[in-house]
């Protein structure tokens, strides 16, 4: 056991007992759910500041209970279903969205070394898979099925338009997003997220410096992936009422909201893992282990702040602009980035 605790950083452990895995899964869901109101409040407060107003401040101290009030209100509302809606799909779609958003949370590593929890070494991640990156892509792709099915099952014109936009946006951005990460994967030589972070620690250089183009493309594509402004075309309040969630209300609407905010946090955590060195602290190699998750969370908050800042600034793109930006600019740029990285890697090794 002590041997495990002193093992070099980056070693993958499967030595956790089964009960630890189950407790970890529950904790991840718990953290995922409790991060939603926090993010909601943080975004609303910040958005208020960007617009020269204080944001919610009536419920609780500094509005701290505002998300609770919102969620409580939503949960007590009637579960309305339009006549013509496809029943079981209509119910399943928000569930798919929420569950897969939360599942994405499992692959994010919060610490490189196992922490000593009551004498048992436990890694601070849900799954430290060899193919963590692929799992992330898979989960987020399945998560968008929730949006597609929700829009389709509502049998409403606005919902359907929103769902169609979601489908088109998905294929425009998934490709560029994946290709943008090829540079990172090639440099590390692994798809495991904790190895990617360790590589950045070993290099003493975060991937945002050598992979600045990849980081930029990944960031923009992630904005499109999690449906944030300026790519929130599938919600598009001003043109599509509410897009795919026009017909949803009450608890099901809340589920879509949970999915949206979990996506926001996951996007921030993913970006900080891949490009901002995860739990690495610059110029401090021997940082104590308990700081690791705090550092990851701080970097996540920075990225979330930037995303909210962009939301406060940029207007929504037109639909054809979004498509042409994805296919004509991001995809060639990502390909070029991967190509140049490959050439550089071969030339200097």
């Amino acid at each position: 056991m002590t041997a495990l605790l002193q093992a070099p950083i980056g070693t993958i452990y499967y030595a956790e007992p089964w009960w630890a895995q189950i407790i970890k899964a529950l904790i991840i869901f718990g953290i995922g759910f409790s991060l939603v109101p926090l993010t909601l409040l943080y975004e609303r407060k910040l958005l208020g500041r960007f617009q020269g107003r204080p944001g919610p401040n009536r419920v609780g101290i500094f509005g701290s209970l505002q998300p609770m009030a919102d969620i409580g209100k939503l949960l007590f509302k009637e579960q309305f279903k339009p006549r013509g809606a496809i029943g079981w799909l209509f119910i399943a779609a928000p569930l798919i969205s929420m569950v897969f958003a939360l599942a994405t949370f499992a692959v994010i590593p919060f610490s490189g070394r196992p922490q000593d929890v009551f004498g048992t070494p436990i890694g601070l991640y849900g799954v430290d898979s060899d193919i963590g990156l692929l799992l992330f892509f898979a989960f987020s792709a399945v998560g968008s099925y929730g949006i597609l099915l929700g829009g389709w099952a509502s049998t409403s014109k606005y919902s359907f338009l929103g769902a169609m936009r979601a489908a088109a946006q998905l294929i425009s951005y998934e490709a560029a997003q994946g290709l943008a990460l090829l540079g990172v994967v090639m440099t590390t030589g692994s798809l495991s997220l904790s190895e990617i972070v360790d590589k950045q620690g070993d290099m003493g250089l975060w991937f945002i410096v050598p992979q600045i183009v990849g980081a930029f493309i990944f960031f923009v594509a992630t904005l499109a992936e999690i449906n944030r402004t300026p790519f929130d075309l599938l919600e598009a309040d001003s043109e599509l009422v509410g897009g795919f969630m026009t017909e949803y209300g009450g608890g099901r609407f809340a589920m879509y909201y949970v999915a949206e905010y979990v996506h926001l946090v996951v996007a921030g955590a993913m970006f900080s893992t891949l490009f901002l060195g995860g739990w690495n602290i610059p110029f401090w190699q021997g940082a104590p282990g308990f700081l690791d998750p705090i550092v990851v969370l701080l970097k996540t908050v920075v990225i979330v702040t930037i995303i909210v800042w962009i939301r406060a600034t940029l207007p929504r793109l037109r639909y054809d602009q979004l498509m042409s930006f994805g296919w004509k600019i991001l995809l060639p740029l990502a390909t070029l980035n991967a190509l140049v990285t490959a050439i550089v890697l071969v030339a200097f090794k």
């Binding site: 960007f50 020269g52 107003r53 406060a312 600019i329």
Partner: protein
């Protein structure tokens, strides 16, 4: 003589052609400029007046809730029950019933006084015509504007309510402020 349009033709300055590398560069620059603009709003701070805690003082000419007045030296009411205010009221919300002053029961400075003086605030449009019509300055518009209530009947203000010194709920702007 024919009209020569040449002198009226004005060259309109056009922006650079969209697209291309220059276009991409400009778009990026404009995006950064927008981000800077919204960030400056954070630096600037909030402009919100948080209403129930914080109130903007009203101007002296503000037409708020009515007040009835008394003579300061004798304590007699200024209103003589002439009903001119009720006649001037476009919303017909003032009801005045006059009665004669007697030596034993002297209420107002004139021959008669208002036995009943009611203003229905749910009908009042706060035009201030009553104030203009009054020959004795007995009724004026005050500064209070927080008149909401749970009952319509509570919005009928009687003479006693209008005569009473109202709670100072609204700050009044000082001269020149």
């Amino acid at each position: 003589m024919t009209w020569n349009p040449d002198s009226d033709v004005v060259e309109v300055a056009r922006g650079p052609e969209p697209g291309g590398l220059g276009g991409a560069y400009r778009v990026f620059g404009e995006t950064l400029r927008g981000l800077k603009t919204s960030f400056m709003r954070v630096v600037e701070g909030t402009h919100t007046v948080e209403y129930p805690e914080e109130k903007i003082p009203v101007y002296p000419r503000w037409r708020g809730r009515h007040k009835l007045h008394k003579f300061e030296d004798t304590g007699l009411e200024k209103c003589v029950g002439c009903s001119l205010c009720a006649a001037a009221c476009p919303a017909d919300c003032i009801r005045v019933v006059a009665a004669e002053n007697t030596p034993e029961n002297r209420v107002s400075g004139g021959e008669r006084y208002a036995a009943v003086y009611e203003i229905n605030m749910s009908r009042c449009i706060f035009c201030g015509y009553c104030e203009i019509a009054c020959p004795f300055d007995a009724i004026t518009m005050g500064s209070d504007f927080e008149l909401a209530d749970y009952n319509r009947s509570d919005l009928i203000f009687t003479k006693e309510m209008l005569l009473a010194e109202p709670m100072v709920r609204t700050p009044l702007r000082a001269e020149g402020e």
